[in-house]
C-alpha cells in the first residue's frame, strides 16, 4: 500500500513534467506579451530590453529548464501583468474555485444519486420519465448558455440573485469564504448550479444504468426471496454495488469541474483560478498560465490517487490482493 502511494507520486512527477513541457511548447503560439506590458509611448529599445529581462529571447529548452528548476524551489515566478508572485495570486484565488467546485460536486452527488436510484427503481414512472428528459437538457446544453439563461431569468428578470461576483467574503487566515454571508451564499447558487448540472445528469444516468444492471442479478433476487425489506435490498445491496464506477467518475469529474470551472467563472465573473487563467491567456501572462496548468495537473494526480484508495474501502475484493502490490493502475 505504502509502496503503491510512493510509486504513484513518482509517476505524478513525470506527468507534471510532461504537462509543463507541453504547456511551454504551446506558449510560443499564444502571442507576444510585451505589447500588453507597456503603453504605446514606450520605445523600441525599452521593449527589447524588456524581452531580454524576461528571458523571452532564450531558446525553448533554456526557458523550460529555468522554469522547472525555479518551480522545484517553490518559486512560481512573477506575474507579468500583476507584477506579483504567482504563488500569492494562486493562494488568493484558489478558495473561490475550490468552494465553487466542491459545492457543485456535492450538489451533483446528493441530487444525482437519489435521482438515479429513483429512476432505476421506477423506470416507468411519470416522474422518472420527467427526470430523464430533463437530464437531456443538462447533458446537451453548453455551460455558458445555461449560465447566461440563469442570469437572465433569476438575475435580470426576477432580480432574486446577484448576476456576478462572489458577494461578501469572510477571511479565515488566508482562506476567503463566501459560505458565511447571505450575499456570499446567494452569489454561489447560480454558478454552482451551472457547474453542477452536467455532472448531476451524468451521475444520475450512470447510477440508473448501474442500478438496472444490479437489480437483475441473482443475489438481489435471492435477497428479495429471503424477505429482506425493499429498503435494505435497494440501498444496502444494490446501491452499494453500483458505487465503484460512480466513485471513479465523481473523482475524475471533480478534477474536470475544477479545470472546467473556467467557463462558469468567466460567465459569472467568479474570481477564481479559472478566471485568472483565462485572463492570463488573453494577456500572455506566461508564469500564471504555467503555474495554473501544473497545479491542475497536480489536482488530477492527487484526485486519482484518492480514488484508487477509495476503491480499497468500497470493494473488499481489492483488499485481498494487496499482497500483489496493487498493480491495477
Amino acid at each position: 500500500m505504502f509502496a503503491f502511494i510512493i510509486r504513484r507520486l513518482l509517476q505524478s512527477i513525470l506527468v507534471m513534467l510532461t504537462v509543463a513541457m507541453i504547456a511551454f511548447g504551446l506558449f510560443r503560439y499564444v502571442g507576444d506579451p510585451i505589447n500588453n506590458l507597456v503603453g504605446q509611448e514606450t520605445t523600441l529599445q525599452e521593449r527589447q530590453h524588456l524581452r531580454e529581462t524576461l528571458g523571452l529571447n532564450d531558446p525553448f529548452m533554456v526557458q523550460f529548464g529555468r522554469y522547472v528548476i525555479n518551480t522545484a524551489k517553490g518559486d512560481f515566478g512573477y506575474s507579468y501583468m500583476h507584477r506579483r508572485p504567482v504563488k500569492d495570486m494562486l493562494i488568493e484565488r484558489m478558495p473561490a474555485t475550490l468552494e465553487l467546485s466542491i459545492i457543485s460536486v456535492l450538489m451533483a452527488l446528493f441530487i444525482g444519486v437519489p435521482m438515479g436510484v429513483y429512476t432505476g427503481l421506477r423506470r416507468n414512472g411519470l416522474l422518472a420519465k420527467i427526470f430523464m428528459s430533463a437530464s437531456l437538457i443538462g447533458i446537451s446544453l453548453p455551460t455558458f448558455l445555461i449560465g447566461i439563461m440563469l442570469i437572465l431569468f433569476f438575475g435580470v428578470m426576477l432580480r432574486w440573485l446577484p448576476t456576478f461576483g462572489r458577494g461578501e467574503v469572510v477571511a479565515i487566515g488566508t482562506w476567503t469564504t463566501g459560505l458565511l454571508t447571505v450575499s456570499g451564499l446567494k452569489a454561489l447558487i447560480m454558478p454552482s448550479i451551472t457547474l453542477a448540472l452536467f455532472q448531476m445528469t451524468l451521475i444520475m444516468r450512470l447510477v440508473r444504468s448501474e442500478m438496472l444492471e444490479v437489480l437483475r442479478t441473482d443475489y438481489i433476487k435471492f435477497a428479495r426471496a429471503r424477505g429482506l425489506s425493499n429498503r435494505a435490498v435497494n440501498f444496502g445491496h444494490a446501491l452499494k454495488n453500483t458505487l465503484v464506477p460512480v466513485i471513479t467518475i465523481t473523482g475524475l469529474q471533480l478534477g474536470a469541474v475544477i479545470a472546467f470551472a473556467i467557463i462558469t467563472e468567466s460567465v459569472f465573473q467568479w474570481p477564481g483560478m479559472g478566471k485568472m487563467f483565462i485572463e492570463a491567456v488573453a494577456d500572455v501572462d506566461i508564469p500564471v498560465m504555467a503555474a495554473y496548468l501544473c497545479l491542475i495537473a497536480l489536482f488530477f494526480v492527487i484526485i486519482n490517487l484518492i480514488v484508487d484508495l477509495l476503491y480499497y474501502a468500497v470493494d473488499p475484493r481489492l483488499r485481498v490482493d494487496t499482497g500483489g502490490g496493487g498493480g491495477h493502475g
Binding site: Q40, T163, E168
Partner: protein
Amino acid sequence: MRWKSTVIAGALAAATALAAPSVGAKDFKWAFQGNLNSLDPHGLFETFTIGFHGNIYEPLIAYDDNMNVVPALAESFEQTGPNTWRVKMRAGVKFHNGNDLTADDFIFSWERAKTEGSDMKVPAGKIKEIKKIDEMTFDIITPNPNPILPRSLLILYVMDKEWSIEHKTTSATNLKGGEEGNFANLNANGTGPFMVTQHAAGVKTMLKRFDGYWKNVPSNVSNATFTPISQDATRVAALLSGELDLAYPVPVQDWKRLKDAPGVQPLAGPEARTIFLGFDQVRDELLYSNIKGKNPFKDVRVRKAFAHAINVDAIKQKVMRGSSVPAGLMVAPQIGGFASELNAHWAYDTDMSKKLLADAGYPNGFEVTMDCPNDRYVNDEKICQAAAAMLARVGVKVKVLAQTKSKYFGKVLSQNNYDTSFYLLGWTPGTMDAHQAIEPLIACRTKEKGRGLFNLGGYCNERIHKLAPMIESETDQGKRATMIKEVFKIHQDEVGHIPLHQQPLSWGVSDRVTVNQRPDNVLDLRYVVVK
C-alpha cells in the same frame, strides 16, 4: 445545521448593518471590461489604468470634464525661457495619509518614473533636470524647446516622498521585484478625491471619499466600488439587474435593449480614437500577396484605388450601427491640430478605383492578406470583413487574418519586424495633440530617434520627416498649426494610410446617476453624481 447557518447569517447581517455607512451616503458601483492590475501610478502607460489612477493620484495639470487642461497640483506652470518652465505647487494640498504636498514630492515622483520598472520613462524624459527654488517652487529644464510640456506631464502622477520611503517603494513596480512585491502595487496614497480602501486585482477595488480633498468637485459619491467584468453579456446583465450604476463598454448591438429596459440608458459619444488601414510600403515584395517581385503598395495609384473602393458610410451604417464618425484625417476632432477642411474621406467610387488599378498595371486586381485584431477595437473584425468585401468589388482579393490582440500585435509590431502587408489599427494620441499621431504613425521609421514606431507600413515622406521634429519644438501655436496641416495634406495626397472613422464610446448608465463621458473613454469620479 440549518438554524445554525441562519443564526450566523443573521449575526453577520446585523454586523454589516451596524458597519453600514450613515444615511445619505451615496454609493456608486461600476464595471469595466478590463482589470485594474496595479495601483502603481508609474506602472503602465495605458488609458484605462492611468484614467483610474487619476481618481486617486494627481498630476501637475489635469483634464477637466471637457478635456481642457486645468491646473491641478501646480498652481502655476509658466514658460520662462525656451527650455525652462517655472512651476509653483499648490499650497494646502494633503495626501491621503495627511502629509503636505511639496516640491520634493514632484521631484521624487519624476525620479521614480525614470526607474527600471516604470512605463513612464517617455514622459519623464521630457524633463532634463529639475532645479528646486524653494519648498513649493521649482524650475523644469527640458532637453529641447517643448511647447506642449504641460500636456506631456498629464499622466505623471505625484506620490508622497515620505510615504514611499517609509514603505520602501522608491522605484516603480518591477517585473522582477523582490519576493515581497512592491508596496505601491497594492496600496495607494495620493492627493485625489478618492482613497483606496480595498484592492484585489482582477476582483474588486473599493474607494472611499477623501474628506481632505483640496478642490470642490461636483461628485457626491461617498463610496465607489469597481469590478472588472470581462464578458459583455454578464456586464450588460449586471447593469440591467440594477447591481451596477455604470458599465462600459457595452456592445453597440445592445443599445436597443438598454433603451427598452427601465432605469438604464446607453450613453454614446465619439471617441478620440481613429481607426485606419495601413499598407506595407517598404518591402520590395509583399510578404502576403500573389504579386511577386514588386510591391503594389509602393504605387500611390494603388493606395488611392483602395481609398476610393472603401465606403465608410456603409461601414458606419451596417457594421457600426450608425455610431461611428467617418474620417479623412488621422486624428479626431477632439485632438489639438485637427483640421476640419481635410477631414472628408475619399469619395466612394468603384469606377475610379478600377481605373486607378488598371493604370497601375493591375486591371484584374491582386491578392493580399489583411491583419486584423478581433478583440481590440469596436467591431474590428467586422470592419476588416466589410473592407475585404468592398475591395472584392474592384477585383482585389483580401484574405482577412483576424486574431486576438496579443497574437495580432505580436505579429505586426516592431518587435516582430512589422510582419504585415495590409492591416487595421486604431490610435488615440496620448497627449491629445496631433504630434502624438504624426511622430509614431506618419513620420519615417528611424531606429535611433524612435520615430515611426507604429508606422507599421513604413510610410515615409522627406518633407514630413523634416516637419515632425519642428512641430515638436515650435512654440508659436499659429506656425505649429500650419505645419501640422501641411503634414496631414501631404499624407492625405499620398494616401499614407486610409483613415476610416472614429469609433463610438459606448457606456450603459443607470438613471440613478449622471456621469461625464470623456472622449478618451475615461471615467472621472469627480463628475459622478448620484441622485
